[in-house]
Symmetry: D2
């Protein structure tokens, strides 16, 4: 098992981790607050988008470098590792100067020029499955990065495009045990994008844990209805706290710990 | 919550159940053995196909009424409830004379003539989601049965057709919490068809339990490699026993029982 | 090339035919009028549904046998061949007593019990591709009918379910040349269902002709906005007349006739 | 209608054009020969990949700048316009220094950083539909380019990913009339990728013309079986010559010219 170490955090190798935060970074104060809040709930990594891939050019495109600076400040203040998306090969060094992990988003999973360059960069990479990509294609995309000598790769299942209309994507949890068989890389799950509706994020997060995921990525915002993007799939603080309690207990149970031990760990936060 | 009662068994309403058995009924002795084996592992319902919907007319089409008579005998001998598929409206009474629950298979979910007739029949129905049907269409198919006055319906998620090639279908577990919100009917999950490969049936069964499924349907055969249909997705006895142990413990944990209690219940079998 | 002969009409073998009519048969006078109108435009076969497969049990389910009697009268009055759907194996003889060709609808393409029985019946069959079925599965469904000794089969491409949202289905015209290579059966195309929107039925009908289709099925209604089903994809009389003029000219061109010859044939109607 | 002018060639506005050439540029002599051959058949634009997006990093990745220099030489020698793909925003000027039109490939249709930069560049753009993208998303991708002030955009339908297995993609010809209604941009069709098998490229090319396409893109190679990529969907010279003859005649017919006029034009080449 090839665990990825980022600062003091081990991802994979039996260590279950949670990434959380807003879809888009909106302003400094809010991000500082979110970071503090998710840390208190037991999350390990702060996520937030500064460069946003939006279907329409008239949608909010993200704060860019200004947003990245808020990420750095908020993650450090809360004692969290940080992750943010890089969309263009010319921005790799810029993003890496502010955050710990570079995310390759679903729409760029087969942007092979970008994969080669983040491979060469050597930074830790969160590689999300393309929403229209097969599991084999995800593993071959990881191979583009590995081939350049970079094995700090975390894979992420985040749903695929199908005909179903009650969910934004179809969350393909079978990817998790299959990747466990075909690869040594850690694989996490993003139920927020996987289903695209906040009301079932928690049961699907638990399903991902039961399927063997090494971690979760969850969208959290103090007021999802006013979020600048993806509000419909974002949890507010109380819902996220509930999710974390259920998920950490289940994760402990899956590893053979007693729920009491898990609860103890949660309370200690 | 509208539980379905069949003989002494309650499906839904917090009571977790497991259906298991071969894809096709092959012969009398084998079915008697399978029934005894799955009962010993804690299963509640014997499944087995006598009328088989096969893509090619040159594939094995099932034993027909002869197979149904073996079902009746094997289920009664082992103390199990039984379920088998009905494919044609003219066979409803025939199938119902041998088994407790009539299955409407994935390919017949939108065979509306058949839905109306099983609705009028009043027998308990296992309604599988069409492999190309939306969740809303599954609920409307159930409505065809309900409209005729029959509310003894168990829904079943069994995977949908997508572009992914490493699984036979994409197992859409988001259907489970969504149906819990939109309907009072119990919903079970069929990971055997959902993924189509035996090696990941157990983790996906656990994911279904974590997502809130009221039960599972699992294909079991003494020698999957020699099964007349669906061998690649069928568990042998030892694998099924392991699955049951893990699933029953997880199910107990989800309901707030301790694993020790669950283990105790399992050992008592 | 295995042409299907129904009354004096040859379908396939280089003879291009058009089926047209309403989605649902609504009343006697209207159907008599539609039949006369489509005949005047050059159509060969009257289509109309008496038993309607509707997603919801609360939608209009069709006039049943009463509708079939109108079909018989209208087709005979106009000198047209007739086709209507059979949804249940117990209705085969009933439908066949009123119409010339039995349609197996998209939702019943893998209703194997029905396929076997229409195979045994010997009546001419219009077999529509399932909206969730591969081309190979369509050919295997035809094989269910052929195996019973009935080779009077007309295949029909009518669109498959995909993620695209601006069309009801994705009209898979590649099925036409592929089936020409793999089968001797005639294959027609149904652009009305294929795209589900009247405004592009004519260009897609022409595309089907250019791809080599042996005929077309087109939904026509005197007032599509008031049609009891599928109004959004149905042509009114003037649009259908325009379509027929363009399609017959193109079909003539494809066969090497001059447009003048084709126009002459059209004017002679 | 917003036609795109490149050198002396008008794309759109009733002027039907054909792009042809190999999937990958393989060597100088071969490309010079292909260019001469397709010109003789009536093609207008030479296509060929120097930077190749390949699913596996171990597949042939293209000749890079060396290949581009062959493109420039071959297009000029044959009197053709040229097009080649740009995969990374840092290569825009490099590619534009050798070819007339920059292709944004299917996998980069939602690489928004690249879209913005080719928009700012002002060069003519061939924007291919993502194999996972809706028609609306294609139009919004074009909007990213238009918003930067660049309206020299040619759209291209090239098939979408579905469950069908006998074709590489499902060629969605309904995109053509829909885009004609929603946009002023010219739209061409790529049946080679659309179906992925050489044996039905010609009927599907004709279907695209009948649906109203402003042009075609066709893969051609002197020996498809030995091509370094996409050989199974590539035409050899005689097949391409036959395709061009059929397509130009049909295109002439669609515009109201007589086949004789069209044939005359073809012979004059």
């Amino acid at each position: 098992m090839c665990a990825v170490k980022v600062r003091n955090l081990t991802i994979g190798n039996g260590n279950f981790i949670v990434m959380a935060g807003p879809c888009s970074i909106e302003n400094r104060e809010q991000l500082l607050e979110i970071a503090k809040e998710i840390k208190a709930c037991g999350a390990d990594i702060l996520r937030g988008g500064a460069f946003k891939p939006r279907t329409s050019p008239y949608s909010f495109q993200g704060l860019g470098e200004e947003g990245l600076s808020y990420m750095k400040e908020a993650a450090e203040a809360a004692g969290l590792v940080s992750v943010s998306e890089v969309m263009d090969s010319s921005d790799i060094e810029l993003v890496a100067s502010y955050v710990d992990i570079l995310q390759i988003g679903s729409r760029n999973m087969d942007n092979f020029a970008l994969l080669k360059k983040v491979g060469k960069s050597g930074y830790p990479i969160l590689l999300k499955r393309g929403y229209m990509s097969t599991i084999e294609e995800l593993l071959l995309a990881a191979e583009y990065i590995l081939k350049e000598g970079n094995d700090k790769i975390i894979l992420c299942e985040r749903g695929i495009r199908t005909f179903e209309k009650l969910t934004r994507n179809t969350f393909d949890l079978s990817a998790i045990p299959i990747i466990k068989k075909m690869s040594n890389l850690p694989i996490i799950a993003d139920p927020s994008h996987g289903v695209g509706r906040a009301d079932i994020v928690t049961p699907m997060a638990k399903a991902a844990v039961a399927a063997g995921a090494d971690g979760l990525m969850i969208e959290v915002h103090p007021n999802p209805k006013k979020a600048l993007s993806d509000g419909q799939q974002t949890l507010d603080y109380p819902s996220f706290r509930d999710l974390m309690e259920e998920v950490l207990e289940l994760s402990a149970f899956m590893r053979g710990e007693s729920p009491l031990q898990a609860r103890g760990r949660l309370k200690a936060l």
